[in-house]
């Protein structure tokens, strides 16, 4: 996150106007990328020192800081040493304790390690963050791509100061809800047309907290999965309340691959099912199911390709807290969905009495067996009931 004092934005009549980078910033971004790339193979500290100095062209200060922060996530670093630095330090500094002079200690340690004194000195701190050598990414991002990455960082940093966020979304709402809950946010969903998510931290009635501010900021990364969204955040910036609006079309999403699944468990289940039961399709994002004042977002819809009337909602309850399991089961019991297959982590020790009456239950340990799911649904892999 960018520190508040360095986020490019202004507040006008209670509205936050983020200073997003745009086409006008492309010329200096190109120079900045070239400048950073000049330091490949050189120590990180030299790059950082260079970035503290001005570029050969005029740059907007805060936008530049955002772009640098985004770029430094791409240009990584690696150590290069003749001998492992940790070993070099121990050998040399111990040698110094028993030697009369620096040179004597260096020669003795170099001889022990089988390198020359200069090589030993070069290796001494090669693993430290500032001494590691700059490594360029496989593909150098274009200036517009860097602008989008910087803009996303700006949006996240602004949301870091949010007390409460409302998201009106179309499609892929479930990952948002799931990620919000994983981060300990209070999440209520209302539906009149598009689902509307109200997200806030439990502490927000008292004050803004860094913990939940960060959680709200992290949700930006999941918004591109929605077909459309409108986000409104109540922020506290520079000590004043202000509203931040973000929506589909804002330049804050770089061309990154969207993760198709929320967890490795789900990904593996989908892969195994494709292999084991080729006639069955596993659809993500089925229609949400309304339940007394809220909505359930089942994980998958399992549907036979030739007989679409044969379909089952699949809910996976994996690595969650006991409290979450209790609440979720309560909700599912109230929903009493007839075609629900509930996959339950064995380690959760749920009693049969806690489970929804109508649910078909599959217990799993680390991996969900797709055949067990089809068996629980009462069908064979070919689709025969």
């Amino acid at each position: 996150m960018l520190p508040e004092a360095t986020i490019p934005f202004r507040v006008d009549q209670g509205r936050v106007l983020p200073g997003f980078l745009d086409a006008r910033d492309v010329p200096w971004l190109r120079i900045l990328i070239e400048e950073i790339d000049r330091f490949r193979g050189r120590p990180v500290r030299e790059l950082r020192q260079r970035l503290r100095e001005p570029l050969p062209c005029a740059t907007p200060h805060f936008k530049r800081r955002a772009a640098v922060a985004a770029l430094l996530r791409l240009w990584r670093s690696e150590p290069e040493a003749l001998v492992p630095p940790e070993k070099a330090r121990e050998c040399l500094f111990c040698a110094r304790a028993g030697s009369a002079s620096r040179k004597e200690a260096l020669d003795a340690a170099a001889a022990t390690l089988g390198v020359d004194a200069a090589g030993l000195e070069r290796s001494l701190f090669a693993d430290l963050p500032g001494e590691r050598l700059v490594r360029a990414p496989d593909v150098i991002p274009s200036p517009p791509e860097v602008a989008l990455r910087a803009n996303q960082l700006i949006a996240r940093s602004l949301l870091f100061h949010a007390r409460r966020v409302r998201i009106k979304a179309e499609g892929a709402v479930r990952p948002l809800v799931r990620q919000a809950k994983l981060r300990g946010l209070l999440c209520s969903v209302t539906q009149s047309g598009q689902p509307v998510l109200e997200l806030s931290g439990p502490f927000s009635v008292f004050r803004h907290t860094l913990l939940y501010g960060r959680a709200l900021g992290e949700l930006v990364g999941f918004l591109p999965q929605c077909a459309r969204f409108e986000l409104r955040a109540d922020c506290v910036l520079r000590g004043e309340e202000a509203i931040l609006d973000l929506q589909t079309g804002d330049p804050i999403f770089p061309a990154e691959a969207v993760k198709p699944y929320d967890s490795k468990l789900e990904e593996r289940f989908a892969r195994d099912l494709r292999k084991a039961a080729p006639d069955w399709d596993l659809l993500r994002e089925p229609e949400p199911v309304p339940v007394a004042g809220t909505i359930i977002f089942p994980d998958f819809l399992l549907r036979h390709r030739l007989r679409p009337e044969m379909s089952f909602l699949v809910e996976i309850m994996g690595f969650w807290s006991a409290d979450y399991v209790t609440r979720k089961l309560d909700l599912l019991c109230r929903a009493n969905i007839a075609n629900l297959v509930l996959c339950l982590d064995e380690t959760r020790n749920c009693d049969a009495g806690d489970l929804p009456m109508a649910a078909r239950v599959v217990r799993f340990r680390r991996r969900i067996d797709p055949m067990a799911v089809l068996d629980a649904a009462g069908v064979s892999r070919g689709g025969a009931p």
């Binding site: 004092a5 121990e90 500094f93 040698a95 439990p202 860094l210």
Partner: protein, 455 residues
């Protein structure tokens, strides 16, 4: 009515599902109406007060908050304490087992905490500032009490009846661990009170709280710390322990000069900075440094001024004169165990390269740090150089000489640093060298540091 723990808060659930706070729940300690769930909610630390208030008002309720596991075994070994540690423990117990003990560095605050844990016999969570201290605390607890200590932080996520967590991990996990402990111990408690991560202490229900520090903050931060941990229950200064429990020491201040080139640059940079500060002061006479930095960062001139100030700090942190004196002092005391304290990591590495002294910084991994301390203890390493890692809490082996090249955190840091060389030994008299550059801000800082040490 039911009280439940919800992510670092206590929620008062009413079976009638009211749309506004019920009359009998008006003015509950710390509680506010949360319209999102139509219930009263308060930070978890108010749990004991809330329960007392409900009982006082005769409200029927079930308390489902506590997730505290079984008590500690009664057969825990007795913890041997020094007389002043016993006095501190008694003072804490008389204060309802809530409060902060202010004891000098090296006076055995960890042992005091372990005695408090053993005496309270309830599951305890100890918050420590760094990963190095996490391991040190966990090992000391296991050595003294012979029970497994959980670790949260530095890659570990094991919760036991006594668990040690770094501030960072405590802060991240308190929303789901906050109801599992009866006693909260906060080492180096002065890090709290100013807002940053205070919520970790707010999200914990532990009714018993012990803060440990050598330098409790004053003003609003001190008051906030009193709210979170309880008031100061016991306080000792370094000079009250010098002799029997801490080694006597001499402080030698060496006044040094900048070279002409360094002086010219320093003066030029200071002029840039002073000019901007003077203009700022005209409109904001009572502003703090943080407020100045925030506002200055918005203009080109302000940013130049801050950059000039940073450069000034770098010049005085390790000018040529300090470089020469450090070399001379290390040579002169090469048979003694010496710790060199500097302002920043680059200076630590510069000294390390030049004099082949082992650096202990945040960049050096845990295993290597432990190995270095062990070699220092055995006398195989004669000197260590550190910016901040050795400032606090770490159980540094016996050292005779401290060289304070520069600091970045003021008087509190200095008191902690001096404490590093005061581990007592028969016949020992520690030496602390302070290097101060004439005609710079360091003169004023050095005076404040000495005052803090004498206070």
């Amino acid at each position: 009515m039911r009280l439940v723990f919800d992510r670092g808060t206590i929620v008062l659930l009413d079976a009638n599902q009211p749309v506004a706070p019920p009359a009998e729940t008006q003015d509950f300690p710390g509680a506010l109406w949360d319209a999102r769930i139509a219930a009263l909610r308060c930070p978890a630390r108010f749990h004991p007060a809330l329960v007392a208030e409900l009982r006082h008002r005769g409200v029927q309720f079930t308390d489902e908050v506590s997730g505290i596991g079984p008590a500690l075994p009664r057969s825990l070994p007795a913890v041997a304490l020094r007389p002043y540690q016993e006095a501190a423990l008694a003072a804490w117990e008389f204060s309802g087992r809530r409060g902060t003990a202010v004891l000098p560095t090296g006076s055995g605050k960890t042992h005091l905490a372990i005695a408090a844990i053993a005496g309270s016999a309830v599951p305890a969570l100890c918050l420590v500032p760094t990963r190095v201290l996490l391991d040190q605390w966990a090992r000391t607890i296991e050595d003294v009490l012979h029970v497994p200590a959980g670790r949260l932080g530095d890659g570990d996520r094991r919760v036991e009846r006594i668990t040690v967590a770094t501030f960072e991990s405590g802060w991240r996990h308190m929303h789901h661990l906050g109801n599992q402990f009866g006693l909260l111990v906060v080492d180096e408690a002065h890090h709290f009170g100013a807002g940053l991560r205070d919520e970790a202490l707010d999200m914990c229900t532990a009714p018993l709280r012990l803060g440990l520090t050598a330098t409790k903050p004053r003003g609003p931060a001190g008051l906030r710390l009193d709210e979170l941990l309880g008031p100061t229950v016991y306080e000792l200064r370094i000079d009250e322990l010098v002799g029997e429990y801490l080694a006597p020491f001499d402080t030698i201040v060496l006044h040094l000069d900048l070279t002409p080139a360094e002086r010219d640059e320093y003066d030029a940079l200071t002029a840039i900075f002073r000019d901007v500060v003077a203009r700022f002061r005209r409109f904001h006479p009572n502003a703090t440094w943080d407020e100045f930095a925030k506002i200055a960062g918005r203009t080109e001139a302000g940013r130049r001024a801050i950059a000039a100030w940073h450069r000034c700090r770098r010049i005085t942190a390790f000018p040529s004169a300090k470089r020469q004196v450090v070399g001379a002092l290390l040579k002169r005391h090469r048979t003694a165990r010496t710790i060199v304290f500097v302002a920043d990591n680059p200076t630590a590495y510069a000294i390390s390269r030049e004099h082949l002294v082992m650096p202990l910084t945040c960049d050096i991994g845990r295993k290597e740090r432990e190995k270095a301390l062990s070699l220092f203890r055995e006398g195989k390493l004669r000197a260590l150089v550190s910016a901040q890692v050795l400032n606090e809490g770490l159980d540094v082996p016996d050292a005779d000489v401290g060289i304070v090249v520069a600091g970045s955190k003021g008087e509190r840091e200095h008191v902690q640093r001096v404490g590093r060389v005061l581990r007592p030994r028969t016949g020992k008299r520690a030496l602390v060298f302070e290097l101060v550059v004439r005609g710079t801000n360091e003169i004023k800082q050095a005076r404040k540091r000495r005052d803090a040490l004498a206070a």
